[in-house]
């Protein structure tokens, strides 16, 4: 996979090859590929001259550093208490209905992945979800439908 090699090299040129560069490089790979593959981890390890196990250990620790393939748009719905109290369940059901997938799954066209996450810091405007890095607070069934429809047309 020459693309991954290029990508990792480019990120290492940008962030450096010290151990502390590992997080920004992993984050850069996720931004580009939506996940960190085994090949990417091996490549990062080679580029930074550390064990692949070290890269794997760090990558798998963080919930936003996905190590399995994700869709182009990763939806993360907050499941923590106030979002839960204010209708997170209905929002999730609506998304499942729209995308015809269950929680944790990716659509066949690899466009969407639906996940839950812990507190996103919008408790006063819950339920909230992230689509990649963009937060969408104050959700209800109508609002989430509009948002998902918009992403579907992208």
């Amino acid at each position: 996979m020459p693309e991954i090699k290029e990508l990792v090299k480019g990120l290492a040129d940008k962030y450096g090859r010290a151990r502390e560069s590992l997080m920004p490089i992993l984050q850069g790979v996720v931004l580009e590929n939506n996940f960190v593959s085994d090949i990417a981890m091996t490549e990062i390890a080679r580029e930074l001259d550390i064990a692949t196990a070290e890269v794997y250990g760090t990558a798998t620790f963080y919930s936003f550093l996905d190590t399995e393939p994700r869709g182009k748009f990763v939806i993360r719905v907050c499941k923590t208490i106030t979002c839960d109290m204010h209708g997170k369940k209905r929002v999730i059901e609506k998304i499942e209905d729209l995308l015809k997938i269950k929680m944790g799954e990716t659509t066949q066209d690899k466009k969407f992945t639906l996940l839950t996450t812990n507190c996103l810091g919008w408790c006063h405007q819950g339920p909230v979800m992230l689509v990649n890095s963009t937060p969408y607070p104050s959700l209800d069934e109508n609002k989430v439908t509009e948002i998902i429809m918009e992403y579907m047309s992208k």
């Binding site: 984050q27 250990g57 963080y62 106030t82 810091g121 408790c123 937060p135």
Partner: protein, 386 residues
Amino acid sequence: MENVKRVDLIFGEYTQEKYKILEETMKKSNEQIITEMINSGLKGRGGAGFLTGMKWKFTAQEKEPTKYVVCNADEGEPGTFKDREILTKVPRKVFSGMAICGKAIGAKIGFMYLRGEYSYLVPDLMAELDIYHEHAKRFNLDFTIELRMGSGAYICGEESALFESIEGKRGEPRNKPPYPTVSGVFGKPTVINNVETFVNAVMIMKYGAEEFKKIGTTDSRGSKVFSISGDTPKAGIYELELGMTVAQFVEEFGDGDTKAVQVGGASGFCVPRKKFKDTIIGFEGVPTGGSMMIFNSSRSMYNVLHNYLDFFEEESCGQCTPCRVGCQQLLKGIQAVKKGEKPSSYLNQLLKLSENMKITAKCGLGQSVANSFSSIVDNFKEEMIY
């Protein structure tokens, strides 16, 4: 408004001129800055409440030439969203506070560790950082600030886990001592403060310790930014004076049917209605990093506790056994009692387990699970059983 006293320190105007307070502070000696910080009585705003001035002093005293300043912007405590608001509205004050600290302790580099959930803030923060660096150059301040991102791990809000993360490792807390003032990020003396603490430092430089001390109580100086959510018609961010009772707070923010208030997030304390009057919000009563979650009588406190334990079980780093296994067992335990698979007396065993975690867990996460666990189970026992 009589129940609670509003303050406008944190979100108030910086100054007309960009980075003016920082420029003025550069004329003070390092000793003056630290003395002023100590005299203000400011305690850290992340929740633990250590005296900020002392932290700065200890780090300044270290002989090691390389030191760091770290701003903890890994706001992950359920019910907390005030740092996001501060970073959105007054990032200039945060960077000024970091720079003042850098000068006072003799550091040349500062890191802001921002949680991945807030990465949408990065473009604006980077733009403001460019402005900061221009001004720092203008008055010959050798202190640069770098932004480092988290990737969705609550535990990285724990200071030593945060250092590990900056260093490119798993966010697993370290043993303490040594404390960060001696050995922090990259093993160097480090001051790590919460976003709001740095803003307070700037306000102390602007108004002086004496003025700052006039706000709040002896044990809880200054104002506090509260994140208010749950069953309230007024959810949002409020800057209030510390030292009010939960009753006063509920009078102002409740929906008239408040059953309990969770002060300090999932790792904080649950205050039931019968204790509202006698509980002070502040370091003399229930401390809080700002999270205030209000529950009315329609809510099941079993569901609330279940949600918190789900949270802890997922966010425990898994490094130490008391926390890794303890969180799982507490969750399984309350489920079993609810289903009738275990007798209600089993709750007492679970309470003992949580007390054990308080003593034996390696870091604040595992140690503080008992706070919410025991305060909810003790006060709402019937709801756990039936």
